[in-house]
């Protein structure tokens, strides 16, 4: 893994996404407080923390599902104001939701092209839709019986494959996975991690929200810990261990946050 050390040099590579001082409140509840997040191209970032730490909220602010109260979201250094996930998709940000956000009543191809079904004249170009869907699934190495299968008849792992296929068919630069392994069997989890590595080889940056540290330590480059709406830690996977991350999750404070590079420097010192 030579790429990893290249990434460690931090400021050398231009950041793909930078979130600065994000705050967000739901009524009296302060869900996010001055959170910073950086993501380099091709990097896999693990986002961990207790329930209600603000992980999903942060991601939804990034994709435009929620509107932030203050702070900046920069993509390629440009400030953005996404009003819906649809707009962030244009900039190459894809989110795979915990419940996959698929329409069970429609078949696999229709779901992969949800909302942007190819058309010929007035009508949906079904021939092209099914052909392209087949191709995307092949690229992902997912074997399903047929692209005509209704999604509600698929198992959880297969449904997730469809959700991922949907995401990568947009040729994204960032894929956000919200608790991707929560509903999966061991086998399916393993296949998902392979898929993530495959995506990384294609240069797709990924953010994975998970409770399972082992998964993140398997594929991740960097891990970010959140607690009560604040970032309390940022470490390189190579230079940390599960014990330290658990310590941060339980008793991290904004002072322990640092950046991964600062943490590395502190460790070396």
């Amino acid at each position: 893994m030579t790429t990893r050390s290249a990434m460690s040099s931090g400021s050398a590579t231009p950041l793909l996404i930078e979130m600065r001082n994000i705050s967000k409140a739901f009524g009296p509840v302060q869900a996010l407080r001055d959170v910073n997040l950086r993501l380099a191209p091709g990097e896999i970032l693990g986002l961990v923390g207790d329930n209600s730490a603000g992980k999903s909220t942060l991601m939804k602010v990034m994709t435009g599902a929620y509107q932030r109260d203050s702070g900046d979201v920069l993509v390629d250094g440009r400030p953005t104001h996404f009003k819906s996930p649809h707009e962030s998709r244009v900039d190459g940000i894809e989110m795979i939701y915990q419940d996959f956000a698929l329409c069970g009543n429609m078949d696999i191809a229709q779901n992969i092209f949800l909302g942007r079904w190819p058309r010929r004249g007035l009508f949906v170009d079904r021939k092209r839709m099914y052909a392209e869907a087949e191709e995307v699934l092949k690229r992902l190495k997912v074997d399903v019986n047929s692209v005509f299968q209704k999604v509600e008849s698929l198992s959880g792992g297969r449904q997730q494959s469809v959700a991922i296929a949907r995401a990568i068919s947009f040729n994204p630069r960032v894929v956000v996975l919200d608790e991707p392994t929560a509903n999966l069997s061991v086998m399916a989890t393993e296949r998902l991690l392979e898929t993530m590595a495959e995506l990384k080889r294609h240069g797709v940056a990924q953010i994975i929200i998970s409770h399972r540290l082992t998964d993140i330590f398997d594929v991740g480059d960097r891990i970010m810990v959140m607690k009560r709406g604040q970032a309390v830690g940022d470490r390189y996977i190579r230079h940390t261990d599960e014990a330290e991350v658990l310590e941060l999750i339980v008793s991290g404070t904004p002072e322990t946050a640092m950046t991964a590079d600062q943490a590395l420097a502190a460790r070396a010192a």
Binding site: F26, Y66, P85, D99, F100, G104, V124, Q149, S155
Partner: protein
């Protein structure tokens, strides 16, 4: 108010739970309203016993509201209370009356109570065990109950004041004024309210109800038997309707077939005005009781009218004429429908948003209490569906297998089979041109409504107002031509605009204000019909220009009118004689609508919205727009049907399109639509419409019996039957198509053989 307290005082007192700020506000509002009534109409409201009379009339609604509160807090709905009320009164009257069964008072009462109990249990079983949506179950029950009342009484009035004097005098005391000077019904009302109030606020029954309504899943996880709780709600609601029905027969000592009509509207509006949320989990019983008084009061004000003096000029002399400015028939349900809709909006938009506390804080210059943001989640909550159905089309083999795997296969087979039954029963008549023509006609009306309904059901909504919108547009059209002398083209155009406007209101309420579609369209169900009856003042209008009537004629008539009729005896002539203009119109609409739904991206958007609205939204589909367009399209289809109705019958009758919403929903469900959304095709809906039209034709077929006599089933019983068909269709959809009951039975029977590795990974 000099010292500003920094910390809120500690509260040691437990929350009172029986009454809150909303109820106090309601009381104040009612006092004001009554005072206004006294000022405006002293003749009625000024009298000392008027107050007692209003309370007496409220009593029955108040008792029903007590049961309904349980149902609504459970996050359910019971539309059948009005017809249960009527049915119970009818059963009692038939059992008790000398001209029918002439039973004793106890036996009659038992029959009545058993009927009520049965209705409650049936509602409960369908909703909880068979998982049919509450509004569809109870709406069907409403129509079945109404059909039973009409069928049992034959539309006649029953009276037994003589027998009541001798037998069961103790029972009929309920309807009398007691020694204290007020009606005993008020006593029952107060008693039921107090008992119910404590049961809901202070007992485990009540806590279970709030938990079930608040989050049924969480309640189930906590070990609360939510099915039993919801069942209990329905039984309580039906029993309170039973009590109300008995109170009413005790007072009137007789019934008319109109008993209880529209009562569900008043009762639901009462409970919602009382602060309960149509979204479940909130509401107090006292609020429902106060709401009942308020709504009855409004109803009274509307019906009693306002006295006014008009100055009439007779020649040179000016005369003062005393009169009552009364609302015409139909206006009252229109207003009540409006009140229902407004009150449903109260909870999510005023109570939950802290509007009044915020206003109060602003007046006092205090910091505003926060508005609770729901984080982009619509107030009706996210819809998530189970994914139990396996994909049968993947297992299908061969052309027959593929046909059978279609969701609309059953409807097509059923339509053909029913047609064959007709041929078997009346071979002399069934296949004739005449009968086929009539079949096509009734098919056209249901078909047109079903096409629009398909769109609405496919994207997960429902439109209960199609029958009423049909009446509204028919009334508009007839009224404009007859009373205002409009030319047919303009009249038709305005009628269609009126129908579309009703659809726009539906769309605004569901999409804009986030109400569940069945509530929004239920309000329109009452309002549109009310406005239609209002326009025509309840009269029947007839004789329109012949050019207009052509819309409802045979094609050959239209061609002859324009002077382009083909030669008699030619094939074109026969064809034009068998087809009617409206059927052609319907087929054109069906082809266009079918192509859009099945082949275009917009059609896909509809299915996506119905399948998983959130997923569709994330995919960039404007689901609000999709749903709004569907609702307006449905209303427009209904409006077209209304115009055709007038043209075909050459007259307008205020009962136009009654029960048609049931026919249309049944057609779509039979034709492969799912009541939960995401499915439905135009072809299927047309096949379903054919099934409905054929069933109606078969049931009203004159049968020649063996002994030479003939038999025709009365129309009321036909309606009961159609209600049953709808229930069977929905249950079949929920259990056989969605739950794939067939496969699970096969799996159970097949055991090892079919333990296929289909569920791998």
């Amino acid at each position: 108010m000099t010292a500003i307290s920094t910390a809120p005082p500690l509260r040691r007192r437990l929350p009172f739970e029986l009454i809150g700020g909303w109820e106090i506000g309601l009381l104040a509002f009612m006092v004001l309203l009554y005072a206004a009534g006294v000022v405006i109409n002293p003749k009625f409201f000024g009298q000392p016993d008027a107050f007692s009379a209003i309370l007496r009339d409220t009593a029955r609604f108040g008792v029903m509201a007590a049961g309904m509160t349980f149902v609504i807090v459970n996050k359910d709905l019971d539309l059948s209370v009005g017809s249960t009320f009527g049915l119970v009164a009818t059963i009692f009257s038939i059992a008790f009356s000398k001209s029918y069964y002439d039973l004793g008072i106890v036996a009659s009462l038992s029959a009545a109570v058993l009927t009520g109990l049965a209705v409650g249990l049936v509602n409960g079983v369908f909703v909880t065990v068979l998982r049919v949506p509450a509004f569809i179950t109870t709406l069907t029950m409403l129509f079945i109950g109404r059909g039973l009342v009409l069928g049992l009484t034959g539309g006649k009035t029953i009276s037994y004041s003589e027998k009541a004097a001798s037998d069961g005098a103790w029972f009929f005391q309920i309807g009398e004024t007691n020694a204290l000077g007020f009606n005993n019904q008020i006593l029952i009302f107060i008693l039921v309210t107090i008992v119910g109030m404590f049961a809901l606020a202070k007992t485990r029954w009540g806590y279970e109800t709030y938990a079930t309504g608040g989050n049924e899943l969480a309640a189930t996880y906590a070990g609360i038997p939510t099915r039993r709780v919801r069942m209990r709600g329905y039984v309580l609601s039906a029993l309170s309707a039973t009590l109300a029905g008995l109170m009413s027969v005790a007072q009137d000592k007789g019934i008319t077939s109109q008993y209880g009509q529209g009562a569900e509207l008043i009762v639901i509006a009462a409970v919602i005005v009382g602060g309960a949320s149509i979204l479940g989990g909130r509401g107090r019983l006292l609020g429902g009781a106060l709401g009942a008084i308020l709504v009855t009061l409004i109803d009274k004000v509307l019906r009693e009218g306002i006295p006014m003096t008009r100055i009439v000029k007779v020649g040179d002399a000016e005369m003062k004429v005393q009169g009552m400015a009364q609302l015409p028939p139909g206006a009252v349900p229109a207003f009540l429908g409006l009140i229902l809709l407004l009150s449903v909006l109260i909870e999510p938009w005023i109570i939950r948003r802290n509007v009044f506390p915020r206003l109060w804080a602003r007046v006092r210059g205090r910091p505003l209490p926060p508005v609770i943001e729901v984080g982009g989640v619509a107030i009706e909550g996210a819809q998530t569906k189970g994914s139990s159905a396996s994909d049968r089309s993947m297992r299908a083999r061969g052309p027959i297998g593929h046909f059978l795997a279609r969701r609309d296969a059953a409807a097509i087979i059923l339509a053909v089979a029913l047609w064959c039954v007709g041929l078997y029963l009346r071979p002399d008549f069934w296949g004739s041109i005449d009968n086929s023509f009539n079949l096509m006609l009734s098919f056209t009306e249901v078909g047109l409504l079903a096409i629009g309904m398909t769109y609405v059901i496919a994207n997960g909504d429902i439109d209960l107002s199609v029958g009423s919108v049909l009446a509204l547009s028919a009334a508009t059209c007839a009224f404009l031509m007859k009373q205002l002398g409009f030319d047919p083209a303009t009249a038709v155009f305005i009628a269609l605009v009126a129908g579309a406007a009703a659809g726009v209101v539906n769309a605004l309420l569901t999409v804009g204000f986030g109400l569940p579609a069945f509530v929004a369209t239920l309000g329109m169900f009452y309002m549109a019909r009310g406005i239609g009856a209002w326009l025509t003042a309840g009269r029947q209008l007839s004789s329109f220009p012949e050019g207009f009537n052509l819309l409802g004629r045979k094609l050959i008539d239209a061609l002859t009118y324009f002077g382009v009729a083909p030669a008699r005896g030619s094939l074109a002539y026969d064809l034009a004689a068998a087809l009617s203009v409206q059927t052609i119109f319907m087929i054109v609409v069906a082809i266009i609508a079918g192509l859009i739904l099945g082949k275009t991206p917009f059609g896909q958007m509809i299915y996506a919205t119905g399948g998983n609205r959130r997923a569709a939204e994330y995919a960039g589909i404007d689901t609000g727009r999709v749903r709004a367009i569907s609702l307006v399209f449905s209303a427009l289809c209904a409006a077209c049907a209304g115009v055709i109705y007038v043209a075909f019958l050459r007259s307008f009758n205020p009962s136009a399109g009654q029960l048609r919403e049931l026919d249309a929903i049944a057609a779509v469900i039979i034709g492969g639509g799912s009541i939960f959304g995401g499915y439905g095709t135009v072809i299927g809906a047309l096949a379903g419409a054919a099934v409905i039209a054929l069933i109606r034709a078969l049931l009203s077929l004159q049968l020649i019996l063996g002994n030479g006599q003939s038999f025709v089933m009365p129309q009321h019983w036909v309606n009961v039957f159609i209600g049953l068909i709808l229930m069977v269709a929905v249950v079949g959809d929920v259990w056989i198509r969605q739950g794939d009951l067939g496969a699970s039975i096969r799996r159970r029977l097949g055991g090892r053989r079919s333990a296929a590795p289909r569920t791998a990974s």
